[in-house]
């Protein structure tokens, strides 16, 4: 039986998490998979913690991923990744984390390496990528970090969806006037460490940069 694939996307309101969720679900539909997502609106969108769920496979019932049930957790803010540990398991989960950190009022910011160590307990692999920084430098558009990570994840086969489907989904979801810059971010993500990243060991991969 084909297993369902479960993704959690976490971050802070305003990081384009819902758009990323829509792209993934459209891509799954293009591949004729059953797909469910769950998102929250309203107050949480005002800069609070945001977490969406995407599940696809042959027949998907629940719109929510269960505890320790995620195959991939994409976090657009590193501290938010910690909250997603609930969905992580050593057996199946890959963490793909943007090195971007947004301070929380009234709390000391946790250093990246400490976060990474904790995430490792709830995953088989942690990949940290400074997507926001790279996009700021190369496109002057840090908001596209999610699209960048999507490009990376898709290229590195962290998501069982064909690149063609994801690309088609991008075209469907992103308004025409922003499509070209989104595609640039996607392609930049594809190229990140593209030379030999898959052959590298787990540690060097995770701690690059």
């Amino acid at each position: 039986m084909e297993k369902d694939f479960n993704i959690i996307i976490s971050g802070v309101g305003g990081q384009g998490i819902i758009t990323l969720t829509r792209i993934l679900s459209e891509a799954a539909l293009i591949e004729k998979k059953d797909v469910k997502t769950s998102e929250l609106h309203g107050l949480s969108q005002r800069g609070g913690s945001v977490e969406t769920h995407i599940r696809f496979g042959k027949e998907v019932y629940s719109p929510l991923v269960r505890q320790a049930g995620a195959d991939l957790i994409i976090s657009l803010e590193a501290q938010e990744a910690l909250k997603s540990c609930y969905y992580g398991s050593r057996k199946r989960t890959v963490f793909l984390v943007n090195e971007f950190v947004k301070p929380i009022f009234g709390s000391t910011t946790i250093p990246l390496q400490k976060i990474k160590k904790e995430l490792e307990k709830f995953s088989k692999k942690v990949i940290l990528i400074p997507a926001t920084r790279i996009l700021k430098e190369k496109l002057n558009n840090p908001i596209l970090a999610g699209i960048y990570l999507l490009g990376y994840a898709n290229c590195k086969k962290l998501i069982p969806l064909k690149e063609r489907s994801v690309s088609k989904a991008l075209e469907k979801v992103i308004p025409k006037e922003y499509l070209s810059i989104n595609k640039q971010a996607f392609n930049l993500g594809k190229k990140y460490e593209s030379c030999d990243c898959s052959s590298r060991s787990r540690d060097s991969d995770a701690s690059s940069n």
Binding site: G13, L40, G42, S44, G47, Y61, S62, Q67, E80, E118
Partner: protein
């Protein structure tokens, strides 16, 4: 884009939000009249109609989807409005339905409380054209303050037929079905969703959009539309008869209440096996139950209730008769559980009914909770991983947007208090529902109570009287909130000689729910230009003498006015007028 996808042509499969699927269902039913007051998790219903209605006016070929040219969109023959509150929204929709058109009204759970005064007699009289009321509950309160209300209680209270969809596909199908039932039995029908249904996306197979063609006309019939005694008692009786009819003819027969023999090779196999355990579930809980059954590889019958009220009593009886135990999976209140316990007395008094002992009554459900309960029901061993989190982060509370005009209100208040040698402890701050309830989060901490829209001024007045005017109070009211329910409380405070300081946070939009217009804005939900109804005119007409309209950007003036108004013997009102940064 997502909300226009709902206009795609028949036969295509699109990923829609539950709320968008509700809109599509209404369009396929030939809906002609839609009203709402914005409220999450129901907001996208109104927002999508809003978008469609404005598309019609602007008719911009760029924004119109491929197959829907301008003429086709205007062909929808659809009226849409943002009403001042949910009670008004229900009343206007009912007026259209009395006149023979199909109407839909959407609101969040608390909205139904506001509308309930009218709902009760409305169900007595019934309608002519179909009337569908969509109500979205929010177990877990992820997108709403106030309470974790289970609106299914209204099904019993009002005797209103109620359907509970689980998926976006069902959202669409159930709306269509609801219109059919409503029209056949001349009764409003409620669709009750929850957050994880309304904001769930999934593939929806689109049907044909039907153009509503009915010319509305109210045909007089005092026997039907006047709820005066003694006639009202007859109406009550007729209503109960109607419900029994719907139970027998629809609820018992419809396959939206169906037994799912999950993973079973054939139905007969399950039958002959004489199953010992079964599950009854509805709404999103059903999806969690099915996920658990799939995960555990069980062959166990699951009764899915698409109809909450009137429940298919005989179908449930038949289902539970051969069982030794049954698990009821439902969020919040144990309504189905109670119903099953009652029915079990007739057909299977030894049946073990398991519900709230394993399924919590507080907070929304999660798949792992249901998985554990189903494992327990079937004596399967299932251990959830024990999580051991060392690094905990504080929850990131939502924040006012950078540049939000409310920052200036809160900082102005703090300056004023300092200059008066007062601290924040010396003043009671009343909150209401909207972006300004973020007054309660750091760094502001200016919110000492928070209930529903319209409640703030009333409470302030009560505190003033109780403390014999010793406590100073600043009550925040939003602009849309003011129109929604703020006016009666203001009149009451003036009439009864109270003196709180009321700050109306006029940012020129209904910001929190997606920047919908309200009567203080020069556009309707249809995009038509209208004169603004000025808040200051209303406040003045309510008898308020101390009134100032200030842009809080002018901090000096704002601070000065707060200082002056806090010492007034009568009600004083500051209209802090500065637009939301998202208002063009």
């Amino acid at each position: 884009m997502s909300s226009i996808k709902i206009l795609e042509k028949k036969g295509t499969k699109e990923i829609l939000l539950g709320n968008e699927a509700i809109v599509r269902g209404a369009l396929e039913s030939g809906v002609q009249f839609v009203s709402t007051y914005p409220g999450t998790p129901a907001s996208e219903i109104g927002n999508t109609f809003w978008k469609i209605s404005n598309l019609k006016l602007s008719g911009s070929p760029k924004s119109a989807p491929r197959i829907w040219g301008r003429s086709q969109i205007s062909n929808l023959n659809l009226y849409f409005e943002f009403s001042t509150n949910e009670k008004v929204a229900l009343e206007v929709a009912a007026g259209a339905a009395f006149s023979g058109q199909r109407a839909l009204v959407a609101m969040k759970h608390f909205g139904l409380n506001v509308a309930s005064d009218f709902l009760m007699p409305l169900v007595y009289s019934g309608v002519r054209g179909g009337l569908v009321i969509v109500v979205a509950d929010d177990p877990g309160c992820s997108s709403s303050a106030q309470s974790e209300q289970d609106s299914r209680a209204y099904s019993y209270l009002a005797h209103i037929p109620t359907l509970t969809p689980a998926t976006p596909q069902e959202c669409k199908d159930f709306v269509k079905f609801a219109f059919e039932i409503s029209e056949k039995y001349k009764i409003p029908v409620m669709i009750r969703t929850t957050t994880r249904v309304a904001l769930q996306t999934g593939p929806v197979k689109l049907g044909k959009i039907t153009r509503g063609q009915r010319k509305g006309k109210f045909v007089k019939d005092v026997n039907k539309f006047v709820t005066m005694p003694p006639r009202v008692l007859e109406m009550h009786e007729e209503l109960l008869d109607k419900i029994e009819k719907i139970r027998k003819e629809v609820s018992e027969k419809s396959n939206i209440n169906k037994i799912q023999n999950s993973n079973a090779k054939s139905k007969t196999k399950i039958k002959t096996q004489n199953p010992k355990a079964g599950i009854i579930a509805s709404g999103v809980s059903y999806l969690y139950a099915m996920e658990a059954v799939k995960e555990l590889g069980l062959e166990i019958p699951v009764l899915k209730l698409g109809f909450f009220y009137p429940s298919p009593a005989n179908k449930i009886k038949k289902f539970i008769k051969p069982l030794k135990k049954v698990l009821i999976v439902e969020e919040l209140e144990p309504y189905i559980e109670r119903e099953v316990k009652r029915l079990a007395k007739d057909v299977n008094c030894k049946l073990e009914v398991i519900g709230k002992d394993l399924i919590p009554e507080v907070d929304e459900l999660h798949p792992e909770i249901v998985l554990q309960a189903v494992a327990k029901l079937t004596n399967k061993n299932y251990q959830l991983p024990t999580a051991n989190y060392k690094l905990k982060t504080i929850n990131r509370s939502p924040q006012l947007c950078p540049g939000c005009p409310y920052w200036l209100v809160f900082s102005g208040i703090k300056t004023a208090l300092k200059e008066m040698n007062l601290s924040e402890k010396d003043v009671v701050f009343g909150g209401e529902i909207g972006c300004y309830m973020l007054a309660g989060v750091p760094p502001h901490f200016l919110q000492d109570y928070l209930y529903c829209m319209g409640s703030d001024v009333g409470i302030a007045h009560g505190i003033k009287k109780a403390s014999k005017n010793k406590q100073k109070i600043i009550a925040f009211v939003g602009d849309s909130s003011f129109f929604h329910a703020g006016i009666p409380a203001l009149i009451n405070a003036v009439h009864n000689k109270s003196n709180p300081l009321i700050i109306i946070m006029d940012n020129g939009t209904t910001a929190m729910t997606g920047h919908q217009p309200h009567p203080g804005i020069a556009r309707t939900g249809m995009g038509e230009k209208v004169p603004k109804i000025k808040i200051e005119d209303i406040v003045r007409a309510c008898g308020v003498k101390n009134l100032k309209v200030i842009d809080q950007g002018n901090q000096k003036e704002f601070v000065k006015t707060i200082k002056e108004f806090l010492n007034k013997k009568e009600v004083s009102v500051i209209i802090a007028q500065r637009p939301c940064i998202f208002v063009k």
